[in-house]
């Protein structure tokens, strides 16, 4: 097992000093509120931090050990809280050598080891001599499988070169015209754009508010009074204006994002090019795709297209799952793409499991029955506006809960699961049983009494929850899925 070099003491001390100054800022406030004057308070604070960092450094330095034993990278640290990590070398995804300013001063480096499922901070050697760092990197990266484990960005660069050099091998599958883009924009949730504008205006109001507060308030007051007094016509026209503005914003947004959208395939890798100003170039190896989601809504149905989003195994070091959105696919194309990613998924026979009605009781209690308590407030009870809005609210919520009950469905076949959900629109998530990482059965006390359970599948990107199904079938599905995963 290797230990840290002696120079490390200074660097760890520096790092923990900086970190502690950031975490314990509130103690400075305590000191400043004390009896002493400003400089002595700050001095006390710094002394306090120095003492703590001193202990931290000593503990970390003397307990830090790392090495490679039996094809596993092992890292031990901590005296008060002992942490002992071991990673099989095959699982290491990338090794980064980093040097910040203080490292350069002492001619050392730090090394970060990425493996899927760890936060980057966990496996970091804070100080290592440059020679050792290079050696360690060579040992750790020698058995990286090119496509599977190599840092995807590096692979991307290489692939981009080959693809761009060789247009002929590219198999163009799909592209979007301007008319398609407009259709996409209309079928999107256009009010999202409108809300952003309203927030923007509100932001400006907040910002300039201090300067022109009185004028703006007066104007607002007047216009509000005008709106209320002139009744439904104005409200309706306001609604139309907002709709038009939102639509325009939505169209601009979609064009900026998806202008010249091109979806092609080269061997086993999908290639997406898109964007007007910021050109995006995305490469997705088919093997890495974890889940496949497609969404429709009534307007999209009218235009006959769907929006697809796919997730791939996390390659970002900061553990954020990004889904890649592919808009405007016709249902034919969707089927083809699905078939391409998950082989034979359309031809297998699925058994369907509807969600138990009881699951929706909690929504009825939370969103329909609990608001009725407002009627205990006498002031509200006598307001006409309140009554009208309340009745509309109750009816709408009831409809939405009913719709989401109707849409919820879960199907499983030999190799795949599909979850359907939604309210007005409908979404489907498809994934293969082999891509699932872990399974959970969850039951509340009441669910145990009436023998139902939630079933939760974790893929490496998404958590797929199947709420409130019969306990026996949940267990059976879990047994079967485990059998599939372990095969």
């Amino acid at each position: 097992m290797n230990k840290l070099p002696l120079k490390g003491l200074i660097i760890i001390f520096y790092n923990s000093f900086i970190k502690l100054v950031k975490t314990f800022w509130f103690i400075l406030i305590v000191f400043l509120n004390g009896k002493h004057n400003f400089f002595i308070s700050v001095l006390l604070y710094i002394l306090f931090i120095i003492i703590i960092s001193f202990f931290r450094t000593a503990l970390l330095f003397y307990s830090f050990k790392y090495g490679i034993i039996d094809n596993k990278f092992i890292l031990k640290k901590g005296i008060i809280k002992k942490i002992n990590t071991s990673i099989p070398l095959e699982n290491i995804q990338s090794v980064n050598i980093k040097q910040n300013f203080i490292h350069r001063l002492f001619n050392v480096a730090s090394i970060e080891i990425d493996s899927p499922g760890t936060s980057s901070k966990e496996i970091e050697i804070p100080v290592i001599t440059i020679q050792n760092a290079e050696e360690l990197k060579n040992i750790l990266t020698q058995n990286l499988d090119y496509i599977d484990n190599q840092d995807i960005r590096y692979v991307n660069e290489n692939l981009k070169k080959t693809i761009n050099n060789d247009e002929s091998i590219k198999d163009k599958l799909f592209s979007l015209s301007i008319i398609d883009l407009v259709k996409i924009a209309i079928s999107d949730n256009i009010y999202k754009g409108g809300v952003i504008v309203l927030m923007f205006i509100y932001g400006i109001y907040q910002y300039t508010g201090d300067l022109f507060k009185e004028q703006i308030d007066q104007e607002l007051q007047e216009s509000l009074e005008f709106i209320i007094n002139s009744g439904i016509v104005v409200i309706l026209s306001l609604f139309i204006v907002i709709t038009i503005i939102s639509t325009i914003i939505s169209i601009i947004n979609v064009i900026l994002q998806y202008y010249n959208f091109e979806f092609s395939k080269k061997e086993q890798i999908y290639h997406i090019e898109t964007g007007l100003i910021n050109k995006k170039d995305i490469l997705i190896p088919i093997k890495k795709i974890q889940t496949f989601t497609w969404q429709t809504n009534p307007i999209r149905k009218l235009f006959d297209f769907l929006t697809i989003s796919i997730t791939e195994t996390n390659v970002d070091s900061n553990n954020i799952t990004k889904s890649i959105i592919l808009p405007g696919f016709s249902s034919d194309n969707t089927e083809k793409l699905k078939e391409n990613i998950f082989r034979n998924c359309n031809n297998e026979e699925y058994t369907n499991h509807p969600t138990c009605k009881r699951y929706y009781n909690r929504f009825i209690i939370a969103f329909i029955l609990t608001p009725l308590l407002l009627y205990f407030i006498p002031y509200l009870r006598h307001q006409i506006y309140f009554n009208v809005i309340f009745v509309i609210y109750e009816i709408l919520t009831a409809i939405l809960i009913y719709l989401s009950y109707r849409k919820r469905m879960f199907s499983i076949s030999e190799n795949y699961i599909i979850v359907r959900y939604g309210k007005i629109g409908t979404s489907y998530i498809l994934t293969s049983l082999e891509k699932i990482q872990s399974i959970h059965i969850r039951q509340s006390y009441f669910m145990r009494k009436n023998s139902h359970a939630h079933l939760i599948f974790n893929t490496s990107t998404l958590r797929i929850k199947i709420p409130y199904i019969d306990y026996e079938s949940a267990v059976q599905i879990m047994n079967y899925t485990l059998y599939k995963m372990e095969k």
Partner: protein, 174 residues
């Protein structure tokens, strides 16, 4: 429920319900109780400090009610820890590890070894005193989904870690 187009016999699949679960180390009940009492102690101290520090806020009745309620909660939580302890259990099978926990909301989690990316053990000060270790099992992707088993005794934790590590390397070799 039937899976058409498949030849395996569903009754012959190993059943997750019939696992031979093992409870955690008895000392883990003590550590969780100590943790709980420590937290509650701080919660009880806060109103006392406020009472002593603030001049206007001098209703001793209110203070005593708050402390009384907190002490009742502490006693209930103290008793509840026992139920929680009895409901925590783990089980190793040839190809996967399962862990169940919770009483009001019970979760049974299972991770097959061939999905495990790596595994680590950790030990706090209190658990060191009681010879306990916790074990973290990481799968690919989002770390929110990982499995942590707290309160195993030292030997068990190391044995599980060794067992799973061997399984991982075996899987990779194939």
């Amino acid at each position: 429920m039937k899976f058409i187009n498949d030849n395996i016999d569903y009754d012959s699949l190993p059943d997750i319900k019939k696992l031979d679960y093992k409870n955690l180390d008895k000392n883990s009940l003590k550590t969780s109780r100590i943790h709980m009492i420590f937290t509650m102690f701080i919660l009880i101290i806060i109103p006392i400090v406020i009472y002593l520090a603030a001049d206007e806020f001098t209703s001793i009745k209110l203070l005593l009610t708050i402390i009384g309620v907190l002490i009742i909660i502490t006693v209930l939580l103290f008793l509840y820890q026992k139920t929680l302890y009895e409901n925590k259990a783990w089980c190793l099978r040839d190809k996967d590890i399962s862990y169940k926990h919770g009483y009001i909301r019970r979760t049974i989690s299972t991770i097959p070894f061939n999905k495990v990316q790596h595994i680590s053990t950790s030990q706090g000060l209190l658990s060191k005193f009681f010879n306990l270790k916790s074990i973290n099992i990481y799968t690919a992707g989002n770390s929110a989904f990982d499995l942590t088993i707290k309160g195993l005794n030292n030997d068990d934790a190391e044995r599980i870690k060794e067992f799973i590590n061997n399984k991982i390397s075996l899987n990779k070799d194939e």
